[in-house]
Symmetry: D2
Subunit: 209 residues, 4 copies
């Protein structure tokens, strides 16, 4: 990969690293697990985050709304995912499932943006503003799910003027064809780079050296 990253201008956006998504016993982990294990998701997320921190690339946490009692009940038209969350209480606030996985917790000074209600980490949050106040022009998206929150956050990032990198093996989805759609069908139309953890961390290191 010829893509390079200026660490002062780059942020890794870690999307929805909740126990419910990433940990044994999490509500949604069983649906992800086959693809996650196939791509080596946890290992690669650890590698991307460690590499970013070592090389001075900023890490920002982009969390989904933690479910609370009453959520969506007064809304005119919650979307299908939100209607499902009303049943299964994903990422419930105050519960273990709604905590970040122990390996993916913010360090002092790392930005945790406001929670997003749906798929895009930019929509109805302060993510664009925080990126600007931290001098970021290039975003690298990792976390979950490849074809929902990661893809919508990436599509928004491109529309907002950011340079967007997807990482094939630092995300997952419910079925392999969703990964294929995200990285082979849709990603190539909007993302500036689609890479792997190995290539990305080498590029971070190269920029840093």
């Amino acid at each position: 990969m010829s893509q390079t990253y200026d660490p002062r201008r780059t942020a890794v956006l870690l999307v929805d690293p909740y126990n419910d998504f990433l940990s044994d016993g999490g509500k949604i982990w069983p649906r992800l697990k086959p693809v996650a294990q196939e791509v080596g998701l946890l290992e690669h997320l650890r590698s991307v985050i460690a590499s970013a921190r070592e090389t001075g690339v900023q890490v920002m946490f982009v969390p989904h709304r933690r479910w609370e009692q009453g959520d969506y009940e007064t809304w005119d038209h919650p979307n299908p995912t939100q209607r499902a969350i009303m049943e299964r209480h994903s990422f419930a606030r105050g519960t273990w499932g709604g905590e970040f996985h122990p390996d993916f917790r913010p360090r002092p000074g790392e930005v945790v943006v406001q929670e997003h209600w749906a798929q895009s980490g930019f929509a109805n949050t302060d993510l664009d503003f925080q990126l600007k106040q931290h001098g970021i022009t290039h975003v690298v998206l990792v976390g979950l799910l490849a074809n929902t929150c990661i893809e919508s956050t990436g599509r928004y990032a491109m529309e907002l003027g950011y340079h967007v990198t997807l990482v094939r093996d630092a995300t997952a989805a419910f079925v392999p064809e969703m990964m294929h759609a995200a990285h082979e069908l849709n990603g190539p139309t909007y993302a500036h780079a689609i890479t792997t953890t190995g290539e990305l961390t080498a590029a971070f290191k190269g920029a840093h050296a």
Copy 2:
């Protein structure tokens, strides 16, 4: 006032009703107090909120960021107000000053939108989204300050396509000429109606009757 309000389409946006702004002992109350008492701010806020609740107009809370340790310190260029907040810790989270005034607390089912970092209740928050999911097309702005958060929220609301009403005596500012600027110089260029608490509550009642 000939303006009418369909209660199913109207929301009162109550901006920043914190003890620090509205209560004896609040950090900023002394600076507001002369104008607030001159216009009858507290009495009129109570009247607007009570009237909205009685007539089925929705009340939404639009809170400023509650100050936390570390706020703004990593930002490239906090604005002058944010730099002042770094000194005086306005609306500090977990303190009495950062609680809503006891007369202005959300009831079950009332929407509290995400905290805004600066002046506009729409910027970097879910306010526009919440208004849409609740069917709102007309917003009535009350709270503080007339020429900062109320004005920026109103300017944004107009740009976003909402019908905007300002209420002269249900807001305040540090000096009378700021009130004059908000209601006589700038408001008439963007707001669809500029009214008083008496006229507004009569209109709410009329629509409801």
Copy 3:
């Protein structure tokens, strides 16, 4: 389909109905043609637009940026599609390819929103504002391409608080698996309804009757 549409609150968003996309001789038509013919794209677009106009549903035109000399040349990072457009000059302003297909031209009073630079008809345009000023809460997306501009416009519409309907046979894509991704993998996560032209026009008629 049980979904109903209030014609005063519904708009059909017709995305990118250019000769380059839809007409024999258009620059991109050959890549679309197999899927377009398979689903009956042109016939169904005609049917949706005619039905909307008959039943009082608003039609809004959501056009892609017409290419002009110099486009993207000073940008820091055009996306892959924009880099392709720099080569092939899709929808060039002042040319036949950049005109709307003769069957899909705005009538007096129909809104033509500002041109979008990338995929989402909302991004960097007045679409959200125009929808609000016309009282629209429900949008129906037709036009091109299913997995790029239609999908990004739909994802944005949901995030902005609109009710979103996709129409399987009033859109097209370069290959069938992109249609599958749009309507079977991704659409069901964010869209409130995924329907067909036949069901949609029946629902329009029902609401109108």
Copy 4:
């Protein structure tokens, strides 16, 4: 002024430099003329633009909607300024009044953003996107009017994360107290710098040297 400007990161936003605003014979010039002459508006605009071009600071044109027949007629609630424009046809497309003043015309490669419907050059346009694609983090606002389009564009710029500079004598308003409100009452709450043409052009030159 201690403020410095990196020319690669700074843009001068020239707002609404129409003949109707700036030229003898323009529809709105008579209302501006006293304040404009008092501050030396035309001379200072020329000086700011010339200095930016000499020192490599980008100039972007931020134009108001040029009035067209039918404008606002189908809208639910045009704002008071838009209702006035329906009468007086300010900046009418295809007329001299809707052309840029001859001294303020874009040079090849300078960005002209989409027209704004109301006051903020960011609202419903591609201004934020264009700034990002050109690497801009600092904006300097000049043009008209101080308390409407300049102020709303400045308030938006701050909320969007930009560093904002106002220039007291490179703008104007209908009456002096509107200038006072813009620069003494409101500007100091949101703008990062409030300066004069002389100080600004010295800072541009200093950064360039």
